[in-house]
């Protein structure tokens, strides 16, 4: 089996697709970490919220694209509420309190999902445009998964363009690097924080809606993806886009190939990877601040 080239190609595509999902989640989380110094354990819950909102939108409108549009918007709006109610006050409260408040949010969201959508796993169909399979590099692969890979790459390209080539990107990088100095230069850091937080939430919601047709929509999907996402962020280094990319690819490939090549070890591998990185490079592979 492992000698077959198509096996490797299919698994590499699987890994890439998982990596892109991690990327959509971790990029928001890492910039929120880097810019706001905020530990948001509820990021996974926002991803799940995106999937649930997507489910409702897709069922009501009868089209996948309704989910694709509604999930990021609704989740970003919830993010606005969270920001005004909680996040702003918790900014300077230290990691312990942030972990606890957002852990409390995980609990709240969990029961909100159970009350709103029930305990049964839900799902909705992929768009007709991307249903079926297509041929790539000599292997047959589900088109929708290729769409996820493409979407991840598109978001990646857009974000890196914004961050490196535009003024707002320069402001964000300055804020990550030294927020006090950025504020001294006349930048309204608070407003940049708010904007970044909303974009991060929208991307989490988008990831939820995109993942829903592949994975099923369950109340614990947020907690399940939270830990790998946090690992991606910490391995990559807080606050850096490069770190989020590297971490996502690393975890995506290790997890996918680990589970097909060494199923017993797979679950331990990513934790061992995290522990190893933290011991050798305590600030992650590509920390935003040198």
């Amino acid at each position: 089996m492992t000698a077959d080239v198509s096996f490797w190609i299919v698994q590499a595509l699987n890994a890439l697709q998982l990596s892109m999902l991690f990327f959509l989640l971790s990029v928001g989380l890492t910039v929120i970490f880097g810019l706001l110094h905020f530990v948001n354990l509820a990021h996974g819950a926002l991803y799940a919220l995106g999937a649930f909102v997507g489910f409702t939108a897709a069922t009501l409108a009868g089209s996948y694209w309704a989910a694709f549009a509604a999930a990021p918007i609704v989740v970003a709006l919830v993010g606005v509420l969270l920001y005004w109610a909680l996040i702003r006050r918790m900014r300077s409260a230290g990691p312990m309190n942030q972990v606890l408040v957002t852990f409390g949010l995980i609990f709240v969201f969990l029961d909100v999902f159970r009350i709103g959508w029930g305990d049964i796993a839900l799902g909705f169909a992929e768009p007709e445009l991307f249903s079926g399979r297509s041929e790539l590099l000599g292997v047959v692969y589900p088109t929708y998964r290729l769409f996820i890979i493409g979407l991840g790459l598109a978001v990646l390209a857009a974000l890196s363009l914004v961050l490196t080539r535009t003024q707002i990107g320069a402001i964000i990088r300055a804020g990550v690097d030294n927020d006090a100095m950025a504020a001294c230069m006349g930048i309204n850091v608070e407003r940049v924080f708010f904007l970044v937080f909303c974009v991060g939430c929208a991307l989490a919601g988008l990831a939820g809606a995109v993942a829903a047709p592949v994975l099923s929509v369950t109340t614990d999907m947020g907690t399940a993806i939270l830990i790998p996402t946090l690992i991606v962020v910490v391995i990559g280094g807080l606050g850096s886009l490069k770190g989020a990319i590297a971490g996502s690819l690393l975890i995506g490939f290790v997890q996918t190939f680990g589970s097909v090549l060494a199923p017993q070890l797979a679950a331990i591998l990513i934790y061992a990877l995290l522990a190893g990185v933290l011991i050798l490079k305590p600030a992650g592979l590509f920390p935003a601040r040198g």
Binding site: P95, M96, I115, L230, I268, L278
Partner: protein, 334 residues
């Protein structure tokens, strides 16, 4: 810094008295709850020791607890060495595992420390979840309780077992308090306050951090061995990171860095969960909101708030009434 104040002593005695009175007056189900509270109190005290006094916010105490339970379970069920050896293995195993984690993570701080402990805890969880030797996902049933008939105790009796766990919780408190009042404990608090300065003073910081984590792990291992005997069944669920998260909730609800608060928090959370589940399935929602409210209210926790009010009243009484301390109001909101 830790001080065994009269208020603390009174709270410990009051809690112990309440627990004994509750144990003597309640039925089987109440005793199960009481046992759970006593075991979790040991675990919460262990966590407060490192989190509250050492500044090491650990997300692996659930795993240490589980390692203790599995050490006890494998010594009794798999190896047939008996419960005393199991207890020793649980305490030793917890201490050793925790010491190793503490030594390796001593260089990391803040969120990186939290994530590193999470990683090690989840590694243990993932290993036990997959491992066929320890029963994997199904866990290990048929864990026996310690035979203490030599002491005239029958631990298979719910009341005796509950009171034994309670006594051990008091012992855990006494050990932690004694440790914190020793030179080692003062050093630990010094590291939390200013690690760089302690290092400059020539202190091998990592060794102290690892040792503190080891002691905490020994207590967590003890709690795990008791939990294994309580339910007579162990499963990987004990090690999951959400257990560690709930422990942090207990500590913050009761009061971080107060020791007695951790035990109080364990009691409050267990009974809150129980009471809420009588009315609704959605205890997560209630606990989540209570937690958020507790942190927003200043994060002192129940005992911490009590101590804060007590200190303020004492300060006010000491100051003459015509010249009130000018910064009294501002410190109240700090």
């Amino acid at each position: 810094m830790f001080h065994q104040t009269p208020l603390k002593t009174a709270t410990v005695l009051l809690l112990a008295g309440l627990a004994v009175a509750y144990g003597l007056s309640t039925g089987f189900f109440g005793l199960e709850l009481l046992t759970e509270v006593a075991i979790l109190a040991i675990l919460a005290i262990a966590l407060d020791l490192v989190a509250g006094y050492g500044g090491m916010i650990s997300l692996c105490h659930g795993a240490l607890y589980g390692v203790g339970a599995y050490a006890f379970g494998s010594a009794t069920v798999l190896l047939g060495w008996g419960a005393p050896a199991g207890l020793a293995m649980a305490v030793g195993g917890g201490a050793l595992f925790a010491w190793a984690i503490g030594a390796v993570t001593a260089r990391t701080h803040g969120i990186f420390f939290i994530m590193a402990t999470l990683a090690f805890g989840q590694m243990a969880y993932a290993y036990l979840f997959e491992s066929p030797v320890f029963g994997g996902n199904d866990g290990l049933p048929g864990v026996p309780r310690l035979d203490a008939s030599a002491l005239g105790l029958d631990l298979n009796d719910s009341l005796t077992f509950a009171l034994t766990c309670l006594a051990l919780a008091l012992l855990a408190y006494a050990v932690s308090a004694a440790l914190l009042r020793s030179g080692f404990g003062r050093t630990l608090v010094g590291i939390r306050a200013n690690e760089a300065r302690m290092r400059v003073l020539g202190l091998p910081v990592w060794r102290h951090k690892a040792a503190a984590f080891g002691v905490s792990g020994a207590l967590a291992g003890l709690a795990g061995a008791l939990a294994a005997q309580h339910t007579m069944y162990i499963s990987p669920g004990l090690l999951h990171w959400t257990v560690s998260g709930e422990l942090l909730i207990m500590v913050i609800l009761g009061g971080l860095g107060t020791l007695v608060g951790a035990a109080l928090g364990a009691g409050v959370l267990v009974f809150l969960k129980h009471e809420v589940s009588r009315f609704t399935d959605h205890w997560h929602l209630v606990v989540g909101l209570v937690l958020i409210a507790a942190v927003l209210a200043g994060g002192r926790g129940l005992y911490g708030q009590l101590e804060h009010l007590w200190e303020r009243r004492r300060a006010a009484r000491r100051a003459p009434p015509e010249t009130p301390a000018p910064d009294e109001e501002t410190t109240g909101h700090a």
